[in-house]
């Protein structure tokens, strides 16, 4: 990590080529191709169990594909130096906060472990990022004292501290009330506009997807069914996509 954390404010691109992954006999990803452009907000939608989280775990390097490859700014993530060269962050579906640390310690963990800032500066940054996600009073709390939605917001603050060039959100609004969802959606937008971070958002929240996505892909059973601008996806006549996007409660008459 040679360049200082504040100079490089350009998002990085992600390319996924022919990504395949099986778990045992179950084929979860069956050849995924997608391109996320630098600075883009790319939303990935799809029913539960379609492999969205597994795809994100591959992109951040937690899993190894059976076939295909992933390029970050044109470089294979197999290269050892990619993790050091680019700053990437993932907001896990469950938050994945360290339960033995306070909220503030969780948010400051990256800076502290990598010795990037002095303790005073870390404290200031932690307070600032917690304020961004509307949790400035929660700094001393333990994760077990937070609701699911609050945990997720702390996880977002923890990702912001990294000043990432690529940020992966796994269902950022799935446990939030509608108002908080809007706040998080606006936060994703603001962050993208302010520092040009590339954002890959997994969500089945249709309002969020069509509200913030520059482009949207719908994934179904390990394959991409439709990909395009929000309008293109809305107009798609792919049956599964239509079902997924236009599904609604039918009241019993």
């Amino acid at each position: 990590m040679t360049n200082s954390t504040s100079t490089n404010h350009h998002g990085i691109s992600v390319q996924v080529r022919g990504l395949k992954r099986d778990f045992g006999t179950q084929s979860v990803l069956k050849g995924i191709d997608l391109d996320v452009k630098p600075g883009e907000i790319f939303v990935l939608m799809g029913p539960s169990g379609s492999g969205k989280s597994v795809l994100l775990r591959h992109i951040i390097g937690l899993e190894k594909p059976d076939a295909g490859e992933i390029l970050i700014n044109g470089e294979s993530i197999e290269n050892d130096n990619v993790a050091d060269k680019y700053r990437m962050a993932m907001v896990f579906q469950s938050g994945a906060l360290l339960n033995s640390l306070t909220v503030g310690e969780n948010v400051g963990l990256y800076l502290r472990e990598h010795r990037l800032k002095s303790p005073e500066e870390i404290a200031r940054i932690v307070a600032e990022k917690l304020e961004v996600v509307g949790l400035k009073d929660a700094e001393k709390k333990m994760p077990s004292e937070l609701s699911g939605g609050m945990k997720k917001r702390v996880a977002i603050a923890r990702a912001l501290v990294i000043e990432p060039q690529l940020i992966l959100y796994d269902e950022p609004t799935s446990e939030l009330d509608p108002l908080s969802s809007i706040v998080i959606g606006e936060e994703i937008l603001k962050l993208n506009e302010r520092i040009g971070v590339t954002s890959l958002v997994v969500s089945h929240d249709r309002d969020l997807a069509f509200g913030i996505g520059h482009r949207i892909a719908v994934i179904n059973e390990g394959q991409i069914a439709v990909m395009g601008t929000p309008d293109e996806v809305k107009r798609s006549d792919h049956p599964i996509v239509r079902n997924f996007i236009h599904a609604d409660f039918k009241r019993a008459q």
Partner: protein, 245 residues
């Protein structure tokens, strides 16, 4: 089983390679060290006092009857130092501390905390395994030294209080001093140092293997404790054999 041993050797190697990082992690080492002491000091004292006592009780009357009064304390002292303190304390710590480590790290894996560390470019071996391993390799030998002393005291008290033995405390220790030298104690402490590595590696190995959600944690805790104990007893034989030469 063999795959596990391979993974453990690998983890051991990765921890050794991380050793230069230990100074950075010193706060966590101290934290773990005091946690181990806190959790086990009283149990170690009680356990070793009674082990020393029961040794005197089992051997004392027979030896006194055959005119070997001077050898009672030596027997208690040597068995305590060379064998019983190291092995019993290692088993106790495997149950008390090894299980806690396995549970904590196993749940961190299941709840994706370890994944989160990896996405932040924080090496889980440096962050989690190293401090625990260093703390236990200091703590266990110290606890064993303490256990040897308390065990001797237990033997002395029981030897005095049992009418069929009835050795005054002072002469118990005087005749013990003749039979025991520092090598016996060093021997036991060295063994416990090796046992500490076993407990640490076997328990932290869960970083790599816990699967199957929260129920997997219970299984890996049990496995960590049982495997530690089996390995400790096997290594005990090997080390004793080597140290006899």
């Amino acid at each position: 089983m063999f795959q596990n041993i391979g993974e453990m050797v690998l983890l051991f190697w990765r921890t050794l390679r991380a050793l230069p990082q230990v100074w950075r992690q010193r706060e966590k080492v101290f934290e773990q060290f005091f946690e181990i002491g806190n959790a086990s000091l009283l149990m170690v004292a009680v356990l070793s006092f009674f082990i020393g006592g029961v040794l005197a009780l089992q051997t004392g009357p027979t030896m006194v009857e055959r005119g070997l009064t001077n050898f009672v304390s030596g027997l208690v002292g040597i068995s305590m130092a060379r064998e019983l303190a190291p092995i019993m304390m290692a088993i106790l710590i495997a149950g008390r501390i090894g299980s806690a480590m396995a549970a904590e790290i196993g749940s961190m894996r299941v709840y994706q905390e370890i994944d989160a560390l990896r996405t932040m470019n924080i090496n889980p071996v440096n962050y989690l395994v190293l401090p625990r391993l260093i703390a236990i390799t200091f703590a266990l030998p110290m606890l064993v030294t303490f256990a040897i002393l308390v065990g001797w005291l237990g033997g002395a008290v029981v030897a005095k209080a049992t009418p069929a033995i009835d050795i005054p405390i002072q002469s118990f220790f005087e005749s013990m001093k003749i039979m025991i030298d520092l090598r016996d104690v060093a021997n036991g402490v060295f063994k416990s140092w090796c046992f500490a590595w076993i407990i640490g590696i076997v328990s932290c190995h869960q970083v790599l293997v816990t699967r199957g959600g929260p129920r997997g944690i219970g299984r890996s805790v049990t496995k960590a404790v049982v495997n530690s104990i089996v390995l400790i007893v096997m290594f005990d034989y090997v080390l004793t054999r080597l140290l006899l030469e």
